[in-house]
Symmetry: C2
Subunit: 600 residues, 2 copies
Amino acid sequence: MSTHADRLTLLRAQLERDKLDGFVIPLTDAHLSEYVGGDAKRLEWLTGFGGSAGSAVVLADTAAIFVDGRYTLQVREQVDGALYAYENVPATSTSAWLGKHAPAGGRIGYDPWLHTRNWVEAARKALGEQRPLVPVNTNPVDKVWADQPAASAAPAVPHDLMFAGQTSAEKRAQLADALNAQNCDTVVLSALDSIAWVFNIRGADVERTPVVLAFALVHADGSADLFIAEDKVDDGLRAHLGDNVWLHPYEGFSTALTALAGKRVMVDPERAVAAIFEALIGVDVVEVRDPCVLPKAIKNATEINGTKTAHHRDGAALSRFICWLASEAPKGTLTELAAADRLEGFRKATNQLKDLSFDTISGSGPNGAVVHYRVSPETNRTLPANSMFLVDSGGQYLDGTTDVTRTVWIGPDAPPAEERDRFTRVLKGHIALARAVFPRGTRGSQLDVLARQHLWAAGVDYAHGTGHGVGSYLGVHEGPQRIATSSGGQPGTEEPLAAGMIVSNEPGYYKTGAYGIRIENLVLVEERTPIGAEGTYLGFDTLTLAPIDRTLVDTSLMGRDELRWFDGYHARVLAEIGPQLDGDARAWLEAACAPLDVHP
Amino acid sequence: MSTHADRLTLLRAQLERDKLDGFVIPLTDAHLSEYVGGDAKRLEWLTGFGGSAGSAVVLADTAAIFVDGRYTLQVREQVDGALYAYENVPATSTSAWLGKHAPAGGRIGYDPWLHTRNWVEAARKALGEQRPLVPVNTNPVDKVWADQPAASAAPAVPHDLMFAGQTSAEKRAQLADALNAQNCDTVVLSALDSIAWVFNIRGADVERTPVVLAFALVHADGSADLFIAEDKVDDGLRAHLGDNVWLHPYEGFSTALTALAGKRVMVDPERAVAAIFEALIGVDVVEVRDPCVLPKAIKNATEINGTKTAHHRDGAALSRFICWLASEAPKGTLTELAAADRLEGFRKATNQLKDLSFDTISGSGPNGAVVHYRVSPETNRTLPANSMFLVDSGGQYLDGTTDVTRTVWIGPDAPPAEERDRFTRVLKGHIALARAVFPRGTRGSQLDVLARQHLWAAGVDYAHGTGHGVGSYLGVHEGPQRIATSSGGQPGTEEPLAAGMIVSNEPGYYKTGAYGIRIENLVLVEERTPIGAEGTYLGFDTLTLAPIDRTLVDTSLMGRDELRWFDGYHARVLAEIGPQLDGDARAWLEAACAPLDVHP
């Protein structure tokens, strides 16, 4: 196996052959996916960086890797500083760095299938006229990556109506209405979750997210062209898609775009790569958000029932795990990796798990304070006595996607006062958000403070958002809504929350080098009509069902309404999860869900 | 006295003489003031509209008046619909309306001293090239307004260092630092409160706000040119301003701007009118926010002590009034106007009142539900038995500006359950905001929900912001900070709150046709350092001291911490205001401030 130094040398030689003085390597695919297939992991192959977001720029005599604050430590462990300068985003950007470091007269290459048009425009501006930014036909990394995996050949399968709740034809009829309302002929769809949603198909081309590699054009008459590798399609899928969906090879997409000349076409500049815009010559382009985004986020009744069933099942698996942990951890030999494996085992034992919804975060003590911790053999830690353990995990089921975090105290002693104080403040924030009622039109940024207020009162905070959207047997991170402060520059915080959306409620607290706390449930936005209400109001119905560690609660900090919520939630957990457990597990759950003992 | 129809006819004849096919009449002055002097009340003279925000456009055969939602009813009462079409802002705008209604080839006039450059650009764009937008030298309204008042000749007076806390020379040295940091020669100041702040001067040119009509240029060496009517300046003021401030006639400002050619000059496009930009020919203009805005908002120790003293005094006056009201209102003859007069009397009796800080809002029953109600002989209402009464008022004192709202129940019966429920929810929001602790950098938009959450829980809300900044013996509305949702498009909600800022805390509830509730205190932003704090945290110190009506509190809705805040606040009111009262008033205050009687 070649070293990363070898690979960098190979790439530089290829750039010379391609008459390029530099090249940009982002971590995404032609669908701007957050998680990508093995063949698209060019950044990891080249540099060794295994995080979920980053880029590299390679010039003839220098190179740099760009990551955000989450990966400041990880990039130094995985990437050789002798080969790549470490750069921080958003302090700098690939385009700003290019503006500063690209040589005079240099030709800088980029793969137009891996960048937004906005990125191309910013980079072109930073480079100026004397240093052309040049699109490549074939990615030079692919030319030198000898053992690059083939694109996934996993089959695409129908997503049954009993889970989807609405036929693809109905969804396409709605898209057609949206097209006609704007006098458009066609919409270009390139986001994989949008395509999976529109056609009611699922696949296994990307880890942890059951999407299918494909592009699509949906037309104003409800018909569609689907660009998908032939070997993914069998007769069953063909029948499922029906007569109104024409199948084409994945590679035919680009040519099909040029055939749209003279038409009026919707494209989402946030979700379509630059190559798509470059192919739309002579097209009247209408730049709007992908019209699947909102209806996909607003779950229908079938999806809502499905997710409740999935959470019912998943909550039992997680409860079994926490029960097992309570007896296993005190032995002093349990590791983070073994715990994560055992949790996956409980989920698999449901016989309905299709995949995890993301790599389990299994963090003991100080590892729990690393917000995006991913346990590896190198970092694997044995759970010691009298320590905090944070586990963030989820499952992909046909009827829904789960995502849940619990933080538990590994005894045998009672937890220290500080840990109880911090845990209780996180819990109070979680409860405040869970109980919130708000008028239609309220955006996630408005609610964020509810989850933080009790931590702030103690002069502490958490450096991540409070909630993200979740798909229906799709991405565990799904837009457009989000609960976070609006200052982070991340999109979604200004999207009004709407009935039917699923969002996470996950405040936390992280003490570097000591412990991490996060309490995460998924919640469903639903209409609420208090007596005397003036207008339409919304609230949250908690979907996730698993006990929250009572031993970490300082009841003296809890208000009456908070105690009522906590005991009420546990009563619900016991009522809905209890019947799925028996024997010791059932007895354990009863104790874990018992009302808090409060002396007023 | 001429009718509004006569005046419109006069203006149209003048427009014809001036070869104009239309003219725009905004409600502001050359300083873009919120409140203006009598000579600038062109809109009111022309149309009869007496609200605080609006514009009119007059064409040869049609005319329209533009007001926002606050004035939808008022404009119909005050302005003749046969003369002016009623238009709503922001549904339309003067520029959009002009684009639609201005005649082909028409020349539309505007006074460049009364509009921002942004407005001019938007209007020019809406009109297009065929319909020129033409600046006038003399406002045509002034030409036909026979009895237009002269500009105020009120003297400018020094604002003593014992109130200002910092000399003008020190303030100008800070501005000079800001200029040098950006390699600028000069800053143009046109906002009246900025000028009053920089030079430590006050006046009486505008009702309710002690500013002086003036323009200023401050230079990078700390010297300044002040453009002010000569008759406002006496030897005392001249001595106060010192050698480094050159005095010029107010009218000389425009010529002085043209003399800046070749210099690098800061101008605030939000605060400087279009005429200022038009005069800066050959100037390197740096567009930034007026550099006085932030230091003016962040009060120094002297101003903070001053405002506390002012609130101490003002709270006693208001408490005397509420005590008087408690004995007077049951007689059944008290009117809103008489109540407002009596309250002003109590403030005057302090012998330190310079002016009210705004026209008192004195609203009984349904009048209390009109958010910007201004009592007049036509609307004046007698306070009936068993009704709600809302009074929003404030005073201008040399040491500070106050603004306070109390809502009281006029007995003799106990208030109905609904009124108590709504009042208690407003109170809970007020308390949540008052108790908030938040990290440095937090913006007002993030805290807004704290004040609304308990109303939302009942499906109700209030259609105004939660808090505005307040000056130090200056404007009762002062930027840049603001507590409100960010969606309203009003500036300020994204300004970080900083220690030393004063802001109002004023949630409310309004039931149209029935009653209004608002509880408003001013609060000071101050640093808070909880034990174990990670970073700098801020909180609010409540400045306003006057009892909140206990009879309207439903204690069953109040949490332990809320009850503690309420009783603690009243204990403070009694301790600080009590010694200023005696006899019956003192006894009344003791009862009004007694701890709530709670049976747990």
